[in-house]
């Protein structure tokens, strides 16, 4: 039984219903992928799950706690166990890389300066960027920012890791490196990782469990193996065009 699940999530912006009652159970300590074409509602779903957007209805469970009805203390405890990699990396411009990665530790822990320094160095090393603590985000490339964002996301050893379009805007090689890094960190830290993407190559590398969203609805769910072995004509109609365009089927 997974400790992260969503039930009947609905969200409407004005007259447009973006999420139409999505339910899903995420596999623990695995990479769960939410995929779909641009504008299908996958990022909105992710933001609902981390509390950035309040859904109109539906429930989000972290373990036995209903996130939407959680007390401030429960909510804080959930957020403490949650790391997020943003599409734009969302590094704080006014802070150095080291300060960025250390930030959650300073907020949530009473660690000493040397403990923080060691942990920051370890996390940066894990993402392949040792010794860049003193650099500022403006001095980094897009791929480096993304990796620093990952280092910040894992600094508190989170149970849940959310990644919003982790490799968008990156060259194919860097994109693959980010994918591999997410895979590696999920295995090493046993995090329940949720990746939102429209990149089918990422799905082939990462997707332990896959939820396909189309026009705000969950139209297919399964494993990477099922995705690869299922003939194209057995997928829902909405998914076929997307799969063909992604190059997964000739």
């Amino acid at each position: 039984m997974s400790d992260l699940r969503i039930e009947h999530i609905r969200k409407r912006f004005g007259k447009q219903e973006v999420l139409k009652g999505i339910s899903f159970t995420f596999d623990p300590a695995r990479v769960n992928m939410i995929i779909g074409p641009s504008g299908c509602g996958k990022s909105v779903l992710l933001k609902c799950m981390v509390g950035l957007i309040e859904p109109d209805s539906g429930e989000i469970y972290y373990g036995s706690i209903n996130f939407r009805k959680a007390t401030p203390e429960q909510r804080r405890e959930i957020l403490k166990n949650l790391g997020m990699l943003f599409q734009s990396s969302a590094l704080f411009d006014s802070m150095s890389v080291g300060e960025n990665v250390a930030f959650p530790m300073r907020i949530f822990t009473k660690s000493t300066e040397s403990e923080i320094r060691d942990r920051v160095a370890y996390c940066l090393e894990r993402v392949g960027l040792p010794g860049i603590e003193d650099k500022y985000p403006a001095q980094l490339s897009g791929g480096m920012k993304r990796r620093v964002g990952l280092a910040r996301a894992i600094v508190l050893n989170p149970r849940y890791l959310f990644c919003d379009e982790p490799n968008s805007g990156l060259d194919p090689l860097t994109a693959r490196r980010i994918d591999e890094l997410i895979q590696q960190l999920t295995e090493d830290f046993h995090t329940t990782t949720i990746v939102v993407t429209h990149d089918m190559r990422s799905v082939q590398i990462l997707g332990d469990k896959i939820l396909f969203i189309y026009d705000g609805e969950a139209v297919w769910r399964g494993s990477r193996k099922e995705l690869q072995e299922t003939p194209l004509d057995e997928f829902p109609a909405q998914l076929r065009g997307f799969l063909q365009a992604s190059g997964l089927y000739a």
Binding site: K47, V50, G51, L52, R75, R76, L79, K80, L82, M84, F86, Q87, S88, A90, L91, F92, D93, F103, P104, R106, I107, F108, F162
Partner: protein
């Protein structure tokens, strides 16, 4: 007509809710102390030169123009000192300084917070369980409430210096006569009134600019527009508050 009215009421409501949020969810005082110090330096120290230049010339011009109008031999020269001094304390130092700071500090705050909004840095704070309004706005507000009265007192002193120098330079009034005039109409309450204005205008500039930055949507273009709007609205609010305070307290 009804829609702009509703929009204005919504904006006021959102502004009040943001203020309420700003004063809740404090984390560690140590963290806010560091932020307060940074903000105090940005608002206070970095404005000293600009305020000095403007205050000096405002004092000088007021002296020259007052001398130009008081041509009667029956009016003692010290009257120039009295008028310039009272004008500086009651109106010129607090209002002109605040209007200048609305441009310098207000646009800086709106564009800083706005940039953080569009680059998901505010979302990153929220996902970490940090009340972004408290974290971003409260240190600025507290720093402003200290820095503004200090800057206004400083501006008032420099404005007097400007008046004395201009009076001596043009031969309109010598420093002794200026001093006699300034002292003859001085009341302690004038300084209290000046400080009340400084605190009120500081509050308006910081909160209005923060509001415009915090709720910006879009990209760089919208950040620039929100910065301009913050300055315009702050300036307008300062002038309205100036009138209301004069009506209530004098």
């Amino acid at each position: 007509m009804r829609i702009p009215l509703i929009q204005a009421l919504e904006a006021v409501g959102t502004y009040v809710l943001l203020l309420r949020r700003t004063f809740t969810g404090l984390l560690h005082w140590r963290l806010y102390w560091q932020l307060w110090t940074q903000e105090f330096l940005i608002i206070g120290r970095d404005s000293i030169f600009l305020v000095a230049i403007i205050a000096f010339f405002v004092g000088a011009v007021t002296t020259v123009q007052t001398a130009y109008q008081l041509v009667s031999p029956f009016i003692p020269k010290s009257t120039i000192g009295a008028i310039v001094s009272t004008s500086s304390i009651l109106e010129l130092a607090p209002t002109i300084t605040s209007l200048v700071l609305a441009g310098r500090v207000g646009s800086n705050i709106a564009s800083q917070i706005g940039s953080m909004r569009v680059s998901e840095q505010i979302d990153a704070l929220e996902v970490m369980g940090i009340n972004s309004a408290t974290y971003l706005i409260l240190p600025k507000l507290l720093a402003g409430l200290v820095a503004f009265p200090v800057l206004v007192i400083y501006s008032c002193v420099i404005s007097h210096v400007g008046g004395i120098v201009a009076g001596a330079f043009t031969g309109a009034v010598n420093p002794t006569q200026f001093g006699i005039g300034a002292r003859s109409f001085f009341e302690d309450f004038q300084v209290v009134f000046m400080l009340i204005k400084a605190v009120t205008f500081g509050f308006i500039i910081i909160t209005v600019s923060s509001y415009h930055g915090y709720y910006v949507r879009g990209g760089a273009l919208e950040v620039g527009a929100s910065s301009t709007k913050a300055v315009v609205v702050s300036s307008l609010m300062i002038l309205i508050a100036d009138y209301v305070l004069a009506q209530l307290l004098l």
